[in-house]
């Protein structure tokens, strides 16, 4: 049974540095780390394309690269710190992230018409990203604390609060980001043993409530849905983004227009091209081939997370990996779905690839935590698996 590494452990002194390195090499899921790194590097490449092409090194490229390095540091931190430590810290981290979310109302400054950033010493931080990670941790902790594989009412409440509170706070300003919390709750309940009948009831309830919800939507929100069916309904307004994205993607063809060469990108027709719509830049410049390769990378990341979850020795670790899987999966599906025009426009970044320090770090944190689960033998709690 592997124990967590601690500085000064006798094992380290006994076996020497080479053994230490070998052990590390064995313990790290290189496929997972590699795919994440590859995606992040791709992101940097296309941020550069979106900003300046081959002309000069863009400021944003440099910033993202710095965040990448920090992100790798985060991975190291997440791996080295034993998972059970993270579990113990979960509620505190979660509470701290709530403070951060609330602070946005007071200290927040606007960017892109939304106030969800705080400036901390010259950097823009998005507390909602940190909150997502903290929530995943807390959910895993709650799941780990469940005595049996049966969902009790108090478990449902616990999950509900853990996810619902940050979601509600975020929803005040950013409905799109708030929406990414909901799947976490659904998956937590589902994976904890929610009976299928409840799943059916839930779906039916959703179907019944949908028209009510539709009526509650503001005009512009409704337009976002209408525009999925036919973006030309509002070609110069809400439909503009989907139309430009489609043009960018479609005109990429099979092999693309070439890095830094896509006219939709270079001439500025594609909006948000270094953030939410970066996938369209990849599709325009590297074509169908490039887009599929990127999707394959994501699929690989998700697959490795599933494997890690399966190999986890206890509930907490498995849930942590599931949480990471859900977090990354939801973001990828919503973002790519939006960019290709099958889902309504929501301001969700593409993990690892979109420009944005907070999101990049959160993504690396998720992967780091999952790597940590594997590195520590899947032991997320001091209790042994039942």
């Amino acid at each position: 049974m592997a124990t967590a590494f601690a500085p000064g452990s006798s094992e380290v002194h006994d076996e020497g540095l080479r053994a230490l390195a070998r052990r590390w090499v064995r313990r790290v899921d290189w496929w997972l780390l590699g795919a994440s790194l590859a995606a992040a590097l791709l992101g940097i490449a296309f941020i550069q394309s979106a900003e300046a092409g081959a002309d000069e090194l863009a400021r944003r490229t440099v910033k993202q690269a710095i965040f990448l390095l920090v992100g790798l540091g985060v991975v190291v931190a997440c791996v080295r710190v034993p998972t059970k430590t993270w579990m113990k810290l979960a509620p505190w981290l979660w509470a701290a992230s709530l403070v951060g979310l609330l602070a946005v109302f007071v200290l927040g400054h606007e960017a892109g018409g939304q106030r969800n950033w705080i400036r901390v010493g010259g950097l823009s931080v998005q507390p909602s990203e940190i909150a997502k990670v903290a929530t995943v941790l807390l959910v895993a902790r709650i799941a780990a604390a469940m005595p049996r594989p049966r969902l009790r009412f108090r478990d449902v409440l616990a999950f509900g609060f853990a996810v619902g509170i940050p979601m509600a706070i975020v929803a005040v300003q950013d409905e799109g980001t708030a929406a990414t919390f909901a799947p976490l709750l659904a998956v937590a309940l589902f994976a904890s043993g929610l009976r299928w009948r409840w799943v059916v009831v839930g779906l039916l309830a959703a179907a019944v409530l949908a028209p009510v919800a539709w009526g509650q939507l503001a005009d512009y929100q409704r337009k976002r849905f209408e525009v999925v069916v036919d973006p030309y309904v509002d070609a110069s307004g809400v439909g503009y983004h989907p139309i430009q994205a489609r043009i960018a993607i479609g005109s990429g063809g099979i092999t693309g227009r070439g890095w830094g060469e896509g006219p939709q990108n270079r001439l500025g027709f594609l909006p948000e091209r270094h953030t939410d719509y970066i996938f369209a830049v990849v599709a325009e410049e590297w074509g169908f081939a490039g887009a599929v390769v990127l999707l394959a990378l994501f699929l690989l990341i998700l697959r490795r997370l599933v494997e890690t979850a399966a190999a986890a020795k206890d509930r907490g670790g498995a849930f942590l990996c599931l949480g990471a899987l859900t977090f990354l999966g939801v973001h990828v599906v919503i973002n790519v779905g939006m960019v290709v025009g099958l889902l309504p426009t929501v301001g969700i970044p593409l993990p690892f690839v979109s420009y944005g320090g907070s999101a990049l770090l959160a993504s690396f944190a998720m992967v780091g935590l999952a790597l940590g689960v594997r590195a520590h033998g899947g032991k997320a709690t001091t209790e042994s698996a039942r």
Binding site: G250, G252, A310, A318, L325, T326
Partner: protein, 611 residues
């Protein structure tokens, strides 16, 4: 352990389920990508093109207008216009405010212009919001591109008038074509909304030749409409240059001589009807119309008491006064009512169908016909008029061209009034009285003529009976090849049935008028000038006799006339000058204008004719 296994089994199963949910979604997305990028790639490539590739019109420069020697009368220069792309997504309020800060034009006017354009014009036609921006304005706009991406600068070719107000009425001016103009199918065929089109003068009459063909420019633009690159797809074809018969030196001399006065001067070549000079004073600056005349300026021009927009030379009618007398003399001779030697005694007053006076109060004494012309005696003609009757006078006048349009190739000509019994019954409701004839005999009464018609009279005598149609157009040239694409085709001249002896007499008498008579101030050394002076009472009537000269209001002042031809032995010029409400005799103020004209012509031509 069992529950743990079952638990981990459940967890593992459901985890896998979640994973496959994501995987399936990604697969669907791959299908979507395939549809977009493989199946419909052409359509999307086209849309990408449409985003960034636009076609813009390349304006063609308008043809130049030159005088008979090829000297430039109207040229072109470049200007920058502010153009609104109405197909682009735009916020009219924002655009209007932006344009107001740029040009000072009030926001409401701009919003109105946009609204009108949206209602009357298809979207793809750009709207010109301001013309002739200064260089600093263009720079200001370019620095603030993103604020109004639908605006752009279009380079345009504008008219330039190197000679100021010279020949302004003849040359005319251009202006933006309006909706009414586009109703004319001929204009609509070569013009689009916003194009400059000739509005008056030669610019209008020869618009067909002067308008070029616009070209096409292919530009790649970015999302704010900034041009990234541009290629010429179809080069524009410049309009043809139009050459006029006008002689710049003669025109200039005539305008200078009429400066500060109101009146007109017409100078023709009696051999073929070419117009050498056509002056209407005061004139106006055609430059004011370039880029669109301001309402203020337009109002000023219309309110100006000098009426600078009136083309007096062909549109204003006056009583001819004594310049009518040669026609009377010709009628008298040809009807056999007078011989040149027949005398009439002028005592300053005559009773011929009313008490009438001669301008010389003490009278001229006995005068033969030659003397009557040289001294311009009224009494002679009172008697002649009575003896002739209106019919032969009217017939000869009609032959020469009075009472109808001379047919000059400029718009706005008036036919004047050649009175007769039927005319009077129709227009005045009375029959013709003998007294009316007497008035006509000295070029007064109902008789009204344009300066052009008087010049035609002079030309008819100069050309010994041949009256050609007057024209300013000479030929049109393709500026690239120099090829003449159109030339004035002379028509058969109208023949006035003068007889030879009458013509000889008139020639001699009119030369003498200039040598020794009232036309002395038209003498030009080295050139034999033939002429006749005239001083016409305006139709408003006479001022009270006892009123001192300075106090006589303008409308009672007489018009001063002079008409004639030169050189008398082989005339190349036939002219008519009128100075409106001069209050002085024709010999005093009108004859010197003719002198200036002939001098200017002589300076250029003396060597050619070897005189």
């Amino acid at each position: 352990m069992r529950s743990a296994e079952r638990e981990s089994g459940l967890l593992a199963r459901r985890t896998r389920l979640v994973f496959w949910g994501f995987a399936l979604s990604l697969l669907v997305f791959c299908g979507r990508l395939y549809d977009l990028q493989v199946v419909s790639v052409e359509q999307w490539r086209e849309s990408s093109q449409a985003n960034s590739v636009k076609r813009r019109a390349l304006p063609a420069s308008r043809g130049l207008i030159r005088d008979a020697s090829g000297r430039l009368l109207v040229g072109n220069r470049l200007a920058h216009d502010l153009v609104l792309d109405r197909e682009a997504e735009l916020d009219p309020e924002g655009v209007a405010s932006f344009v107001e800060s740029l040009t000072g034009e009030p926001r409401e006017a701009i919003l109105e212009a946009i609204r009108v354009a949206d209602e009357t014009q298809p979207d793809h036609v750009p709207l010109v919001l301001a013309r002739d921006l200064s260089f600093s304005q263009v720079a200001w706009l370019e620095a603030r591109r993103e604020r109004a991406p639908a605006l752009s600068v279009r380079t345009e070719v504008l008219r330039q008038y190197p000679n100021g107000s010279l020949a302004s009425h003849v040359l005319g001016h251009v202006g933006e074509i309006d909706a009414r103009g586009l109703l004319d199918p001929e204009l609509a065929a070569r013009h689009r909304m916003g194009d400059l089109v000739g509005k008056a003068g030669v610019e209008k009459e020869q618009d067909r030749w002067l308008t070029g063909e616009r070209g096409v420019r292919r530009v790649v633009v970015d999302n704010v409409g900034r041009e990234i690159s541009s290629t010429v797809e179809l080069p524009p074809r410049a309009g043809h240059d139009v050459h006029l018969t006008i002689d710049l030196a003669v025109q200039r001399a005539a305008e200078a001589a009429l400066a500060g006065q109101r009146g007109a001067c017409v100078v023709l070549d009696p051999r073929d009807g070419s117009v050498r000079a056509l002056v209407s004073a005061p004139g106006y600056e055609p430059e004011a119309f370039v880029g669109g005349i301001s309402d203020v300026r337009w109002q000023q021009l219309n309110d100006d008491p000098g009426k600078p927009l009136r083309f007096r030379a062909i549109s204003e009618i006056y009583p001819p006064g004594s310049v009518w007398k040669p026609l009377m003399a010709a009628a008298g001779l040809m009807e056999g009512v007078r011989q040149p030697s027949d005398e009439t005694t002028c005592l300053g007053v005559a009773h011929v169908h009313g008490r009438r006076r001669c301008w010389k109060k003490i009278g001229h004494g006995a005068l033969d016909m030659r003397g009557s012309l040289i001294n311009s005696c009224n009494v002679y003609y009172y008697h002649l008029g009575r003896d002739l009757g209106i019919t032969p006078i009217e017939r000869l006048a009609a032959d020469i061209g009075f009472g109808r349009l001379a047919g000059i190739d400029l718009a706005g000509e008036k036919p004047g009034i050649l009175p007769s019994d039927p005319w009077k019954r129709r227009e005045v409701g009375e029959r013709w009285y003998d007294g009316d004839t007497i008035n006509v005999a000295i070029g007064q009464g109902f008789l009204s003529v344009t300066p052009l018609q008087v010049a035609q009279l002079a030309a008819s005598i100069a050309a010994r009976g041949d009256v050609h149609r007057p024209h300013v157009f000479s030929h049109a040239v393709d500026p690239r090849t120099g090829e003449v694409v159109d030339r004035w085709e002379g028509e058969r001249p109208v023949r006035v049935p003068y007889d030879s002896a009458t013509l000889d007499f008139l020639h001699e008498a009119m030369v003498a008028t200039v040598e020794d008579g009232t036309g002395r101030r038209a003498r030009v050394p080295g050139v034999t000038v033939a002429g006749k002076t005239g001083t016409a009472q305006p139709s408003s009537g006479d001022a009270p006799e006892d009123m001192p000269d300075e106090e006589v209001p303008d409308r009672y002042r007489e018009h001063a006339w002079f008409m004639g031809f030169a050189p008398a032995e082989s005339p190349e010029l036939a002219f008519a000058v009128v100075v409106e409400h001069a209050g002085k005799h024709g010999g005093e103020v009108a004859a010197p204008v003719a002198r200036s004209v002939i001098e200017a012509w002589a300076r250029a031509h003396v060597t050619v004719t070897g005189q």
